[in-house]
Structure formats: structure tokens, C-alpha cells
Symmetry: C2
Subunit: 196 residues, 2 copies
DNA sequence: GCGTCCATGTAAATGGTTACATGATTAT
DNA sequence: ATAATCATGTAACCATTTACATGGACGC
């Protein structure tokens, strides 16, 4: 499944420009299970237009560059449904942050702390974003997916908060770094909630 | 971070052949946050060898093809640590299955059911795999990451089982509020303290 | 006999990211 | 001033996936 199909999916939710489609992948309900950049969206829209799966209306705006708003055609809707009925390819997840934490023993404690904090912050932000009432979606399928994303992000935040000690030797395994950390300062462990 | 670095990471855990490295990504402790195929592993090993970051020993085996076992050199270990100290690029997750479920209203109910079942099965298998005592890893960083993977998979399985009715409005349709509060309300049941 | 596991590798094709190119408006 | 937001698009580059090529051993 390529970016073309993802764009069709966004357009099912309503007409949009390339710029707006990208925002959907960044902030909208798609953000937690797919991504795409301009370099792939614009060419994809061009192909879809050439194939007659979408139409395009140029819109002049005041104080802003012109917009090209794309709409699904009937053929586009059919093509999208056909695509949706293929077998899904397996999920792929890649996280350099987790990879780094896996090799935490080879890391500068400061760097490990930073990677940990940032990863936690990202997922706290995701929880906040998905918990925001503005973010609610219509339709039970959408709600299901929305809830799934929230459940996963919450699980990550909970685990990271509760198991912090496993990564930073607060328990049995005590090394030099853990001593000065464990006693006093928490290296900003309780960072302000999300907001990034 | 490319496959070269991932291979170095596997080799930190012990010498291995290209074939064995791939298995690490499929079944080992890396499986839940990265992947790689032969087509990228073998060329990567070639480059690493040319760069002097690994050495290679050909090993004849009885009743099996010869093996090329790779080992980290000191330079390789240093290069790996250097790589680990870069800023991690953001996580990327892509799931066609979730994308399809998001558009469940456009799907054949049978197909939706299949996608749902398969997705659940995959994550149940992951939970089983990570719960298996054989799968335990040494070192607190490893345990932390292992526990994180388990927590996420468990969260997915739990959510999918409990919110099944949201997706398939079958008979006892779960109240829509249950989705919103599914995370906030009854989270006590799932707080897997996996890493112990 | 057939499929699967072991084992290595290459080449073509796919597809996406990054950098470039442009440019007005608004907020700091 | 400077950065950010809005807005579109191209081209070079990069990485990965897929298909191909080879071949013995082992279980069914």
C-alpha cells in the first residue's frame, strides 16, 4: 500500500489540499499508524489526478498562496475500496530510541537519560493529543482505532514510568552513575507533562 | 540509522552469520522494534567487512552449507557506540491492518473480520513469544526493552478483546463512552510488570 | 517427489526522504 | 530582522524490498 492509497483514504474523510493531507498524517487520526511527506504526497496526487481517481479545484485565497483542493471521484472511491480488500502487509515498527535503550549499557548515562526522556515525552504528548476532546472522530471504526492508539500510548507511558528503575539501576545492580543519581536529583524525571 | 548499524548491534550480542542475524530480527529481542531482510543484510555485512568494522571466518559445516561467521572488531565496536550517541530519529509505525480497520465501514464484513482476527492473532503470538521464559534476556536495559514490547503487545490484545463490540456492532453493542473511557476507567487489570 | 530449513549472494525495481526552488504573509 | 505558517512542486539520492540464482540435507 503506497502513499496514493493513503491519500485516497484522507480524501474519503473530506476534500483536502496536499498541504492539508500532510497535516492529517502529522496530527490527525492517521498520525499514529502512518506517515508521509511532501515529496511523496504531491507526486501521488499528480498520479491520482492523471488516473482520474481525484479531481482538482484551484482556489484563490486572500493573504495566502493558492490552494489546490482535491476531491475523490467515483472511480477513486471504487479504487480505494478495492485496495482496502487486499490482504494487509504486516505491521512495521522501527524505533531507534528503543534500539538505543536496548544498548543502554554502552551509552553515556546522560545520553541514555535524554533518549528515555524524549521517548516518554513523545508518547505523553500523544496521549494528551488523543485524549483531547477536539480529537474525537465519528463512526465506530474510527473510534475503535482511536481508542487503540490511545491504549498503546498509555501502555508505553505507564510502563516507562513504572519501570524507570529497571533502566536506571535504582535496584540491585548499582553502578557508579546510579549512586549520585539515586540519592538526590531525579535528572528531571518528573518533567512537565507533555507539551512539546 | 541503517542496516549496517543494526547488524553491528546484533554482533555486540555475539558472533553471527548473515542468516543468523536475520533470525535475530525475526524472532529475537529485536523483533518488536526493527526488521531487515537478506537483501539488505548481506550487502551491509560486505560493506562492514570492507570498512574493517567486522571480521569474517568461513566455517565448514557437516551436512550444511558453509557459514560465514562475522565478529566485531574494536573499530566496529567504537563505530557502533558513536552511532548510538547520535540523536535517534523519530519512531515510525505503519500498519495497513489498522488503516483498513479505520475504514471498516467501507469493508466487506468478512474481510474486516479477517483483518481484525489476524491482527489480534499476530499480537497474541507476540505476547506468547515474549512471555516465554526462553526469551528472557540478560541485562537491565534488555529487560526494560523486553518488558516494553510485552506491555505494548498486551495492551493491544487487551484493547482489541475488550472493544471488539465497538468495531462489530454485534448484539450487545458496547456503549460508545466505553471507548473514550476504556483507557481512563479500568486500567488496573493491565499493568504488566513484565520485566521481572 | 515435495516442501522446508540451512546458507549466500546479486540485480532490478520500487518507493520514499532530503534538498532544492519559490514566494507571500504574519507574528516575534 | 527572523522565523514560522501557508502553499506547491521537482530531482537527485538513498535504502529497502523483491525476484532471481544456486544447492545440499532432511522429513513426510
Amino acid at each position: 500500500m503506497d502513499v496514493k492509497t493513503l491519500c485516497l483514504g484522507v480524501l474519503v474523510l473530506g476534500d483536502a489540499s496536499g498541504y492539508e493531507i500532510k497535516k492529517h498524517f502529522e496530527e490527525g487520526p492517521f498520525s499514529h499508524f502512518h506517515a508521509a511527506g511532501f515529496g511523496s504526497i504531491y507526486p501521488a496526487l499528480g498520479t491520482l489526478l492523471a488516473d482520474g481517481l481525484v479531481t482538482c479545484t484551484e482556489m484563490a485565497q486572500e493573504g495566502r498562496p493558492d490552494k489546490k483542493v482535491y476531491s475523490l471521484t467515483e472511480a477513486g472511491r471504487r479504487a480505494f475500496r478495492r485496495e482496502l480488500h487486499k490482504a494487509p502487509s504486516p505491521d512495521s515498527y522501527r524505533s531507534e530510541a528503543i534500539f538505543m535503550m536496548f544498548f543502554g549499557d554502552l551509552l553515556d548515562p546522560d545520553h541514555l537519560g535524554e533518549v528515555y526522556q524524549r521517548h516518554l515525552a513523545v508518547h505523553r504528548a500523544k496521549v494528551d493529543c488523543l485524549s483531547d476532546p477536539d480529537c474525537t472522530v465519528a463512526g465506530r471504526d474510527r473510534k475503535f482505532v482511536h481508542g487503540l492508539g490511545l491504549a498503546v500510548s498509555r501502555a508505553i507511558v505507564d510502563y516507562m514510568e513504572n519501570s524507570r528503575g529497571v533502566l536506571f539501576g535504582a535496584g540491585d545492580v548499582v553502578d557508579e552513575d546510579a549512586v549520585d543519581e539515586g540519592g538526590g536529583g531525579e535528572r528531571g524525571a518528573e518533567t512537565p507533562r507533555a507539551a512539546e
